[in-house]
């Protein structure tokens, strides 16, 4: 069964995936950072509930979450309708929709490690920065962020890898449209489903290879510029 010759696979889904994962990670960091920071700082009673809600997208099977997102983002819905009115485009079956879905689905992988590492910093370095004249934004970027680098690393690796591999949500919301929403995970899935095993192995190998190289590079960089805990 492993013997079939395979033409070189179409790599469009790969580039699409990398774009999706890249954009998602950037948005996740932008959205997740303030949320994680708030969670790490707040003494509000809401905190526990928000923490729990942040983890909930994980609990639903991806396809099911995808189904609910499909309903939620559809132009027939309030949200999707409003989006269409404003931008003129739909959220479902578009790349934008994929990004929205990925972000929602991977949010816990960004927020949780960030929050943990923000909490680990404690208030001492931030107080020191404040007495040196650094305002909240300033010290967030110049003290909290570098000290939480390990958390950012974890967050990025988990969300990037998860976005690469995730396909249930994306399949549902994106509709598997070649060149637009057909990401590599769907492509491999499809090949396995249609018994194109050789093609599937090849694409998987490419995906794993690229991921491995990226991950090694990221970890090696982290190793070179560590923050000494003591």
């Amino acid at each position: 069964m492993w013997s079939e010759g395979a033409g070189f696979p179409d790599l469009t889904p790969l580039w699409l995936t990398i774009r999706l994962a890249g954009i998602s990670v950037v948005i996740l960091l932008i959205v997740g950072t303030p949320l994680a920071w708030w969670l790490a700082q707040t003494k509000s009673r809401l905190k526990v509930a928000v923490e729990a809600i942040t983890a909930l997208p994980l609990v639903l099977p991806p396809t099911v979450l995808g189904f609910y997102l499909l309903v939620l983002l559809s132009p027939n819905s309030m949200l999707g309708g409003a989006w269409r009115d404003v931008t003129g485009t739909a959220l479902t079956f578009t790349f934008t929709g994929l990004v929205v879905a990925s972000v929602l689905y991977s949010l816990p992988f960004t927020v949780q490690p960030l929050q943990a590492s923000f909490e680990a910093i404690g208030r001492h370095p931030m107080e020191a920065a404040a007495t040196l004249g650094a305002g909240p934004t300033d010290r967030f970027f110049t003290v909290a962020t570098p000290l939480a680098l390990r958390g950012y690393l974890t967050a990025m690796v988990l969300s990037f890898a998860h976005t690469l591999g995730e396909f249930g949500v994306v399949l549902m919301v994106g509709g598997n449209i070649p060149g637009q929403t057909k990401v590599i995970s769907i492509a491999i899935y499809e090949q396995v489903e249609t018994l194109e095993y050789a093609q599937a192995h090849l694409l998987s190998a490419i995906l794993l290879g690229i991921s491995f190289v990226v991950l090694v590079a990221v970890y090696a960089a982290n190793r070179r510029f560590p923050v000494h805990a003591g």
Partner: protein, 366 residues
């Protein structure tokens, strides 16, 4: 309304700090008190780091904290040397200093980087990471960093505790220069009596979260009643003096009420007014003028009171002139043997070398 005026209370679980005090607008105020008395907490409130403090903090007429108002710590232009170094682990020593400098410059204040680095002996350390510093090195960097923010108010929490005397000797003149030259008020927590004696213009004594005494250093250090708090060995008096001459043999001559003093030489122009601290511990009393002693200084004054404390000592006060007293701590046995009584004329015998350079401070501005 210049200077720092605080009137607040702060409740921590099991501890209440309540301070209403006007700090002098310039000069250095030492906050002194036993471990756990609230010294660090006081600095934290002044810096705006204790959200729970209720009351007011005003600095040079600006309300930093008051009803419905709380100026954020980073807008207070303070320099804070924390009790632990709190260096930024992700920056080198130079990076830590630059962090402060950049923000000071943005706010229009310009620190003298070269002078600070030199005073704190950091030249060899600039490229180091905080994790590779010894305890004393980290403390020096922390102090340099606070100075690099060219603050308008300097809060220092035991900044020299991890340093040896030689390092202290190198750094203290720099702190004195700030105290005297830059018109930056300094609030300085220390347990070291010699630092109190050398640096303090003002003293605030805390005990269990309350101010027990506060006032000019001169008054408090020469008040026998306050002595036990510092440890009896810190008691002493501060005399106003004027530099008369610098001699070849390394001694400087000062005019004080009641006579002249030879002290270890120090740099100050003839005519400069200085303060000299004389530890009660170091004074020997004599009813007649003693001869043939190695001690060079002899001041004559009128014995005003003899006060017993606990233990074998008594504290004797000689008046040299208006508000110019010398305290002597001697044994009861000696006091009896010399039949000391108020109203007598007495000589205070003081070794030149016991007035070590540490105790020769600038005149301050009050």
């Amino acid at each position: 309304m210049s200077g720092l005026v605080v009137d607040f209370s702060l409740d921590l679980p099991g501890f209440r700090l309540s301070v209403a005090e006007r700090f002098a607008p310039h000069g250095l105020t030492v906050v002194f008190g036993p471990s756990g008395s609230g010294k660090s907490s006081l600095l934290r409130v002044i810096a705006g780091l204790e959200g729970g403090a209720e009351g007011s903090v005003c600095f040079n007429g600006q309300t930093w904290q008051g009803p419905g108002r709380h100026v954020a710590p980073h807008r207070r232009a303070i320099g804070y040397v924390f009790q632990e170094a709190r260096l930024f682990a992700h920056l080198s020593v130079a990076g830590n200093l630059a962090y402060a400098e950049r923000r000071a410059r943005k706010a229009g204040r310009v620190p003298d980087r070269a002078a600070i680095v030199a005073a704190l002996g950091l030249d060899g350390l600039l490229t180091r990471r905080p994790s590779g510093l010894s305890g004393g090195e980290a403390q020096r960097v922390a102090m340099a960093r606070a100075l690099m923010s060219a603050p308008r108010l300097l809060l220092m929490d035991e900044p020299l505790s991890a340093l040896d005397d030689a390092a202290k000797g190198a750094i203290l003149p720099y702190i004195e220069a700030i105290r005297d030259g830059m018109q930056v008020p300094v609030i300085y927590v220390t347990h070291s009596v010699s630092e109190v004696a050398r640096l303090a213009h003002h003293i605030v004594m805390l005990e269990a979260g309350q101010v027990r005494r506060a006032g000019p250093a001169q008054d408090i250090l020469s008040d026998p009643a306050a002595a036990p708090a510092f440890g009896i060995r810190a008691a002493g008096s501060v005399l106003r003096a004027e530099v008369l001459a610098h001699h070849d043999d390394g001694l400087s001559e000062l005019a004080v009420a009641g006579g002249r003093l030879l002290v270890p030489g120090f740099a100050a122009a003839i005519g400069t007014r200085v303060r000299v601290r004389i530890a009660a511990q170091d004074v020997i009393l004599s009813r007649q003028r003693p001869e043939g002693l190695s001690a060079l200084n002899l001041l004559e004054g009128e014995l005003t009171d003899v006060r017993r404390g606990q233990g074998p000592g008594v504290m004797v006060r000689l008046r040299m002139g208006p508000e110019q007293d010398v305290l002597a701590r001697i044994t009861q046995r000696s006091a009896r043997a010399l039949s000391l009584a108020p109203g007598q004329r007495c000589f205070a015998v003081i070794k030149s070398l016991s007035i070590a350079p540490l105790d020769v401070g600038g005149s301050g501005s009050d």
